[in-house]
C-alpha cells in the first residue's frame, strides 16, 4: 500500500527557533492535512490544503504556522518561532480526490521544543 512519508521522525529545537517539518504525500493525492497530538491528548486538526491554498485552518494554526507545497511532491509545515507548547507529534495526511474517503497518515514527526 502506498505511504505518506514524514521526515525527520524526531526533531529537537530551541525555543524561538524556526522548524520545518516535511511530508511526502502519496503521489496522486490532492488534499493534504497537518494534525498534531500533544503527549497524552487527542489528535487535533491544524490545517487542510488543496490546489496550493489553505482550505481550512484551526484556531491553533496562528501566524506562527505556515504550509507550503514547494515542488509538487513535498508538503511542509513551518513554525516560525517555536514555543514550548508546540512540542507534540505532528502528523501529515493526504487524500485522493474522488470517492476515496480514506485519509492516509504518515508516521509522524515528534517535535521537542526545549
Amino acid at each position: 500500500e502506498p505511504e505518506v512519508t514524514q521526515t525527520p521522525s524526531h526533531q529537537v529545537t530551541q525555543m524561538g527557533q524556526e522548524v520545518i517539518l516535511r511530508c511526502v504525500p502519496i503521489s496522486n493525492h490532492l488534499y493534504f492535512y497537518w494534525y498534531r497530538q500533544i503527549l497524552g491528548q487527542k489528535v487535533e486538526f491544524l490545517v487542510s490544503f488543496y490546489n496550493n491554498e489553505i482550505s481550512e485552518k484551526s484556531e491553533i494554526f496562528d501566524d506562527q504556522f505556515s504550509v507550503e507545497r514547494p515542488d509538487g511532491s513535498n508538503f511542509t509545515l513551518k513554525i516560525r518561532s517555536t514555543k514550548l507548547e508546540d512540542s507534540a507529534m505532528y502528523f501529515c495526511a493526504s487524500s485522493v480526490r474522488a470517492t476515496n474517503e480514506k485519509l492516509f497518515f504518515g508516521s509522524g514527526t515528534q517535535l521537542s521544543v526545549l
Binding site: Y31, K42, V43, Y50, R97, K102, L103, F105, G106
Partner: protein, 113 residues
C-alpha cells in the same frame, strides 16, 4: 460542527475476553465514521470505516463496529482480544470525502495477560 465523544478514556481487559469501545458523535449532516488505532510510538492506522449501507462493518485484526443512527453511536467491538491489541483507539468523523477528520479523545485499551 461535528464532535466525537469517547466515554471511556481507559479500558483494561483480560486477554481473550471481549471488548467494546464506545463512541458517540454529533453532527447536523451525514458523516463518515472511522476508527483509527495508534500502537505505541507509531502513527495512525485505519481500523475500519462506515460510509453507507450495512450498519455492521468489519475491519482489520478482527475488529468490527456497528453504526446506530438513532443513537448516533459507532461502537467498536472485538470478541476476543490479544495482547497485541494494546493501543490507543480513536473514533473519528468526516463530513464529506474532502473534509477534515475530527478525532475523539481516544480510548487506551490495555490487554492484561
Amino acid at each position: 460542527a461535528q464532535s466525537v465523544t469517547q466515554l471511556d478514556s481507559q479500558v483494561p481487559v483480560f486477554e481473550e475476553a471481549p471488548v467494546e469501545l464506545r463512541c458517540n458523535y454529533s453532527s447536523s449532516v451525514s458523516v463518515y465514521l472511522f476508527w483509527y488505532v495508534q500502537y505505541p510510538n507509531q502513527g495512525l492506522q485505519l481500523l475500519l470505516k462506515y460510509l453507507s449501507g450495512s450498519t455492521l462493518v468489519k475491519g482489520i485484526n478482527g475488529f468490527e463496529a456497528e453504526f446506530n443512527k438513532s443513537q448516533t453511536s459507532f461502537h467498536l467491538r472485538k470478541p476476543s482480544v490479544h495482547i497485541s491489541d494494546t493501543a490507543e483507539y480513536f473514533c473519528a468523523v468526516r463530513r464529506t470525502s474532502y473534509d477534515k477528520v475530527i478525532f475523539g479523545p481516544g480510548t487506551s485499551l490495555s490487554v492484561i495477560p
